[in-house]
């Protein structure tokens, strides 16, 4: 196969959600003289675009969008040694966590994975995260965005505490805050002073992308 055919084959393996083939073709493409940048632009980015389009057209499921993102990450890992220490370009940084008292993390995990697939650097603090841990992460990581999730009405009050803690630490204005989760509503987001509310993972990621591109 020619270099161009191999780049197309990597793209198609992403679209077909085939982990093994994507790795195989990536190694072959590098051997055939493809640069990491070509693989990123012509294979990964195009593949992800096709998968995203199929998701928008309801042909693919969100889970398949996530799998495609994971394949993209795996390919990137193969490319890392060839990038000679050059930093992989990220469009923004997000600190994310499920708030204190809430152990439900699957919604937060979906958002984190989709953010990574959308080229964000994600600092995932996990579940049951106290306000001080959010503050510490914002201090240390200097993210663009803080994302919080809560499933329960009894725990969503913690979101307000996190925003207050960020304010007290003088960090509130340095980040955008987005919240989501089964118990949360747009009105609640407004009432606690969050900047945004994601009704679902797709919308949450769309808002984050909008924020960083407007910067």
């Amino acid at each position: 196969m020619s270099k161009e055919d191999l780049l197309d084959a990597i793209r198609d393996s992403i679209v077909n959600l085939d982990f093994d083939k994507s790795k195989e073709y990536t190694i072959k493409a590098l051997e055939a003289g493809a640069t990491p940048q070509e693989i990123i632009l012509k294979s990964i980015a195009q593949g992800m675009e096709i998968v995203g389009k199929k998701f928008e057209e309801s042909e693919y499921f969100l889970s398949e969008l996530i799998v495609a993102g994971e394949i993209g990450k795996e390919i990137t890992k193969i490319l890392e040694p060839y990038l000679k220490g050059a930093e992989m370009k990220k469009i923004g940084k997000v600190v994310i966590g499920t708030v204190r008292g809430d152990l439900h993390d699957i919604g937060k995990n979906i958002v984190a994975m989709m953010l990574e697939a959308a080229e964000f650097k994600v600092i995932d603090l996990g579940a049951d995260v106290p306000p001080e841990k959010f503050v510490e992460a914002v201090k240390n990581e200097r993210p663009d965005i803080v994302g919080m999730s809560a499933l329960l009405t009894v725990t969503m009050v913690e979101m307000k505490n996190v925003i207050e803690a960020l304010r007290e630490a003088g960090l509130r204005d340095s980040v955008k805050v987005i919240i989501g989760g089964a118990a949360v509503t747009e009105d609640y987001a407004k009432s606690i002073g969050a900047d945004g509310y994601g009704a679902n993972a797709v919308e949450g990621v769309r808002i984050c992308k909008q924020w960083v591109t407007q910067k």
Binding site: F61, L62, E64, G101, N109, V154
Partner: protein, 449 residues
């Protein structure tokens, strides 16, 4: 003991009738020709916990008297926070029980009382958080001593791998989670719970796969959400039945817990009465199986409602009224010999509208349950039941399936058939690879517990 045959045919399984009826609580009989409402509530945070529960219990029992509900069950599901305070738990349970007994005596109510203990374990800790396991067992003892009639849990063994796998459509991970890790955990857990229940003369009710199948159902969402395939959520439900059955193999007798939609499988296999929920639980979460799931219930529940003020009263009393009328309709159908007719209407209203409803239809359940009981271990049952469900979905022309669903079904069937060729080997090999990738997964702790 592994169940090896079915207790019903698809023709004779119906709401209100169980092959093994149960008598418990204050004169309550379940599964003997009557469907019983089971009300579950959640305290609002502003008041003190005891004050909240007193208010809830009183309003529910008063409403039962006002409506003429002769039989009912209350369910209290302890929260993580309540689990930390044993005195609070003891006081709460005995307060509710004495109120139940007072109303039963004064008004002739027949009442059962289920208590669901929270699974508070952190599976990332060594030996799966032995301290929390002990505390859970202490709480089971405590609630049994203070008035609970039925013990339940929504245990979460295997959940860490399931969460990783479900959003990636990773069937090996899902099978390993449900058919292997969860099974090890369920055996240990239910051996202990059954022992406590027997010592205290209460019922070991069952264990919902809420953390698995309801998570999949919730993620799948509505018909056009395209989050994960509904056919994936359907096979997770079916495979979860094999996991939830383990509680009964260890000696649980039901009534099975409401949010286990897989209970229709457990009823057809074990013959014990089951609680179920559907349209009545829209207050807690949405589903695509609102009517069909009522077709075989013995108790009919609302899942959970917060104690908030609505126009018609507080949440719990309002939902008891809804359950009262739902069950009264089912019971009057029984009294008039029309229960099979009503059952069929319930089934047909949902069955072909989506894959999740399809796999809860008694005829489909029967075919899949036959496959389950033929297999000799839970792992093989998990894989074989998934394959059968996919075959039945794929081969049914009336079932409404999108192009994406059909694509998934074909892919999933190939994958499960590959696993079925040597399930233990395939799963064990895969598990140690997951360990490096899945947060908190400690495979050895499952095997050594």
């Amino acid at each position: 003991m592994m169940f090896s045959h079915l207790e019903y045919t698809p023709k004779d399984i119906v709401f209100g009738f169980s092959k093994k009826p149960l008598r418990y609580g204050v004169g309550l009989e379940v599964g003997n020709g009557l469907v019983v409402p089971e009300i579950k509530y959640f305290p609002k945070v502003e008041k003190s916990v005891m004050e909240e529960y007193r208010h809830i219990t009183e309003q529910v029992l008063k409403k039962a008297v006002a409506l003429g509900t002769e039989c009912l069950q209350l369910e209290t599901e302890l929260t993580y926070m309540e689990m930390e305070d044993k005195k609070l738990v003891a006081d709460l349970i005995s307060m509710q029980k004495s109120m139940i007994e007072r109303y039963a005596k004064e008004y002739g109510l027949h009442v059962g009382y289920r208590v669901t203990v929270a699974d508070i374990r952190d599976f990332g800790k060594p030996r799966h958080d032995e301290e929390s396991f002990s505390r859970m067992m202490d709480v089971f003892e405590l609630v049994s001593s203070n008035g609970a009639d039925v013990l339940s849990i929504e245990s979460e063994g295997g959940k860490e791998l399931f969460n990783y796998s479900i959003i990636r459509q990773d069937l090996t991970g899902i099978v390993a989670s449900l058919g292997y890790l969860a099974t090890f955990d369920m055996k240990r857990l239910w051996k202990n719970i059954v022992s406590i229940a027997r010592n205290k003369s209460v019922l070991a009710g069952g264990d919902s796969a809420c953390a698995f199948a309801n998570t999949a159902m919730k993620i799948a969402g509505g018909l056009r959400d395209n989050m994960i395939p509904h056919s994936l959520a359907s096979i997770v439900r079916v495979m979860s039945a094999c996991r939830s059955l383990v509680a009964f193999e260890e000696g649980a007798t039901g009534p099975g817990k409401d949010c286990a939609y897989e209970n229709v499988y457990l009823k057809i296999i074990t013959g014990y009465p089951m609680s179920m929920e559907g349209k009545s639980s829209a207050v807690a979460h949405s589903s695509l199986v609102g009517n069909i799931i009522a077709a075989t219930c013995d108790l009919w529940s609302n899942e959970q409602v917060e104690n908030i003020k609505l126009f018609g009263g507080y949440g719990p009393e309002v939902f008891l009224e809804i359950l009262h009328y739902d069950t009264r309709l089912m019971n009057i159908a029984i009294a008039n010999g029309l229960h099979y007719c009503l059952r069929d209407l319930m089934i047909n209203s949902d069955k072909f509208s989506n894959p999740q409803a399809f796999v809860l239809s008694p005829d489909i359940v029967f075919e899949i349950a036959e496959v389950i009981v033929k297999e000799k271990d839970t792992l093989s049952r998990t894989v074989a039941s998934g394959i059968k469900a996919l075959e039945l979905m794929h081969g049914n022309e009336k079932l409404n399936l999108s192009k994406g669903e059909r694509r998934f079904i074909e892919m999933a069937k190939r994958k499960l058939e590959e696993i079925y060729s040597s399930p233990a080997q395939k799963v064990e090999n895969a598990l140690y690879q997951y360990e490096g990738k899945v947060e908190k997964l400690r495979v050895k702790d499952y095997l050594e517990a």
